[in-house]
Symmetry: C2
Subunit: 462 residues, 2 copies
């Protein structure tokens, strides 16, 4: 519990109406997409950067834990106050698009802007912001930067870090810094923006973001490649990309996901005998470019054993092709009552082997592990399904399978997380991915920014 | 002077033949492209990562300064041992291309590999490594990462940081870390690779680099836009890019550079009355794409006042168009005996104003400031020319002009350096670009990596 003295001080900074410690607010800000719950001691809604600075300075002096929070859509507990303290909620007031600079093709936003609102603002003037996490309708750009969010379009256009040009941020001591300029290139000083991206709110509170925009591609078409099994599909992923294909997205569904979709949506229009599917868009500035891209994909898929290639001829057809992928996550629930889902990532050439080994691990425990995700960038959403979440043995087996999968992936040169971050959920596995020197270095970096350990402490295994 | 005890220890690590302290070696490793000279106490040539680790561990224990060095092509003194210590030269033994991974489109190299050798190895298998600093024939990839090198192709393809997928590095305490995996996405742990890039050898010694490769574009054409003055040319830069042009390079020459070229190369074939020139390449996968790109450029240049647009029809014609840009730097020497050259960068829309103000500053001191460079990404190579370098007043005026130009650029939202780094040369100007909190943060980061301050100390104003 936070002393009233502290609550009153926060009220003196941001106004009475922007400090909440009633039960309703504590519950409203106790969760994220992990479904774990930790109530904060209070929720504070800063109105601007100066409020953030004043709050951090005070908390630093009084060693009060602060957990910055956007929309709370994180899959790994990044914004959960697992050790108490206050939630610093950026989404209520600091949610303005400050500028769309068409001359320099940049957008300047506050951290609480919703990803999709920014995409729309860019598209309204013929520009394009590619990073599109699945939560794009509600996640915030501040959270996207803090987690280095990915999305479907990463295969061609990269991820959040590829679009961050500059940041303003408040350090735990309350000092305001800028990291980066409104320039394409900047090599003066350390790349502090680079280390703030994906730091999960543990180093500083981001208060302003300058994002690169690109011209909006004129044309787009949706394709689907059908394969007899997922191994052939996964081979086609890296071989088609190495052959020069450059699709916006190249997503995959495995046989278990395809079966799940058929069970959950009996009317779904999916090819018979599809044991693996690749689906995505290609884009470009001319019909010729699109046609050439589709030809490269079709030929390369065929060379790798595909038995069908569909191109949508209308928006309705495109929606139909995308339906399976967009409903893959809920469909997997046909296999159990609890999903242990992780977003491992491997070098693309290792995708076939990674999936085969994942299935073997799940088999060993008598579990199913339907997989889908961003194959175009090597990112697999693996779902270890527990049939009965009240069965302790089965839950324990599920967790053991996940740990083995992490070890497998790291041994293959992959990573614990392609886009969801470490937060609380993956913290116990950090020692699989990092040696002692690396963990010590992370702790030194944390200490350099936050010597009193007030900012989202103990996340990421630190 | 380094105690013999230390020299003998280094010899015990790397072998007698890989430790040099004779005068010839001290002179050979005392310079870089700044033409300043500082002799090291010794030069050590590690054979592999383990040697680097052993050397750093020893130096850390004995507080011996180490300055890592690639080819010594830095423009800002990054590899100069201004405070003594040993040069750790990575170019003699650690210069192997370890792997070109075609399936994942990655290259893995040691730090001493020459940029162009890597470009050629990639192109030999149909792949492409875009970053092409002007020193590409002799600079090393380790130095490129340490400085976050740019180049002509940055306008379309970005800079070194956009291609670094993972690094191996040795910390000052001798511990070996990996930063990043062989994956497109990785959000586990802090982005230590992000902060090592552009850290100018002050945080760790990079021992292995994994670089992204892309499919080699099939076709390329060279264009030149002629303008009556540089202001119109600079307006055309950001307006054509905002209109959807996406040239590989968009380089510029101002009127002073054009005049200098005509003086130095009387036979040069440059359009009469050109007061500003834009030159570059466009590339693509089809003739249609190239034609469309060239049309966009031509129309946009015309809309912004160009009076000529040339497209090379052969490699010879392309070389002819590029000749002026490639010889711009030496040509400027017609204006003086000493060149004070800086590589400031501004938001592209500020290019016209930045150049006008730069000329005013130079005029005030009776100096000429011919400018050329990477307009496509806002990076200006400004050259304040001192007629007589032995004239102290004129030299002092030149330095005052440079300082005013830095202040101007920062006030415009730009940066001290687009690609050359800070090193020694720009260290005195860091306070123009960074506030006290930012400088304190840089120092904290330095200390987190290098508590004993042994690694390239006192660079970047730290």
């Amino acid at each position: 519990m936070l002393d009233n003295k502290h609550l009153n001080h926060f009220k003196s900074i941001v106004g009475v109406e922007n400090v909440k410690s009633d039960k309703a607010h504590l519950i409203a800000y106790c969760y994220d997409a992990t479904r774990e719950r930790f109530e904060p001691d209070a929720v504070v809604f800063p109105r601007d950067e100066q409020d953030v600075s004043n709050i951090l300075k005070y908390c630093n002096e009084h060693k009060i834990i602060i957990v910055p929070r956007g929309a709370g859509s994180c899959f790994t507990g990044g914004a959960l106050p697992a050790n108490g303290g206050i939630i610093l909620s950026l989404e209520r007031h600091m949610n303005q698009i400050l500028e769309i600079d068409m001359e320099n093709m940049l957008g300047i936003v506050q951290p609480g802007v919703i990803n999709m609102d920014f995409q729309k603002a860019a598209e309204a003037v013929g520009l394009f912001y590619p990073p599109d996490p699945a939560s794009e309708m509600y996640c915030t750009l501040g959270g996207n930067v803090a987690e280095n969010a990915g999305g479907m379009r990463a295969a061609k256009y990269g991820i959040t870090k590829d679009y961050v040009v500059a940041l303003r941020a408040v350090l735990p001591n309350g000092e305001i810094i800028t990291a980066g300029k409104k320039t394409i290139k900047d090599v003066a000083g350390y790349n502090t923006a680079g280390i703030l991206i994906a730091s999960e709110g543990t180093l500083a509170v981001i208060t302003q973001i300058t994002l690169k925009l690109i011209p909006k591609p004129k044309l787009k078409k949706t394709y689907m490649g059908i394969f007899p099994d997922v191994t052939k599909a996964m081979n086609a992923v890296f071989k088609s990309l190495a052959a020069g294909a450059n699709p916006v997205a190249m997503e995959f569904l495995d046989a278990l996901v395809i079966d799940a979709l058929k069970q959950k949506f009996p009317d779904i229009d999916l090819p018979q005998n599809a044991g693996g599917i690749l689906v995505g868009d290609v884009d470009g500035s001319s019909e010729a470019e699109i046609t050439s891209q589709l030809e490269t994909l079709k030929q390369s898929f065929k060379d790798n054993g595909s038995n069908g290639f569909i191109v949508a001829q209308s928006d309705e057809e495109a929606d139909k092709l995308w339906f399976a992928r967009k409903n893959a996550s809920p469909a997997t629930m046909v296999y159990g009552t609890k999903k242990l889902n992780e977003d491992i990532s491997v070098p693309r050439s290792k995708l076939p082997e990674a999936l085969e080994e994942i299935y073997k691990i799940a088999d060993k425990y008598g579990l199913k592990a339907p997989c889908f995700g961003h194959s175009g960038d090597g990112n697999i959403h693996v779902n270890v399904m527990v049939k009965d979440k009240n069965n302790e043995q089965e839950m324990a087996d599920g967790h053991k399978a996940i740990e083995e999968i992490f070890q497998l992936v790291v041994d293959m040169g992959g990573t614990l997380s392609g886009e969801h971050g470490i937060g609380l959920s993956k913290a116990p596995f950090m020692n699989i991915a990092f040696n002692q020197a690396e963990m010590e270095l992370f702790k030194s970096i944390k200490k350099a920014f936050d010597p009193n350990n007030i900012l989202n402490p103990f996340k990421m295994g630190l």
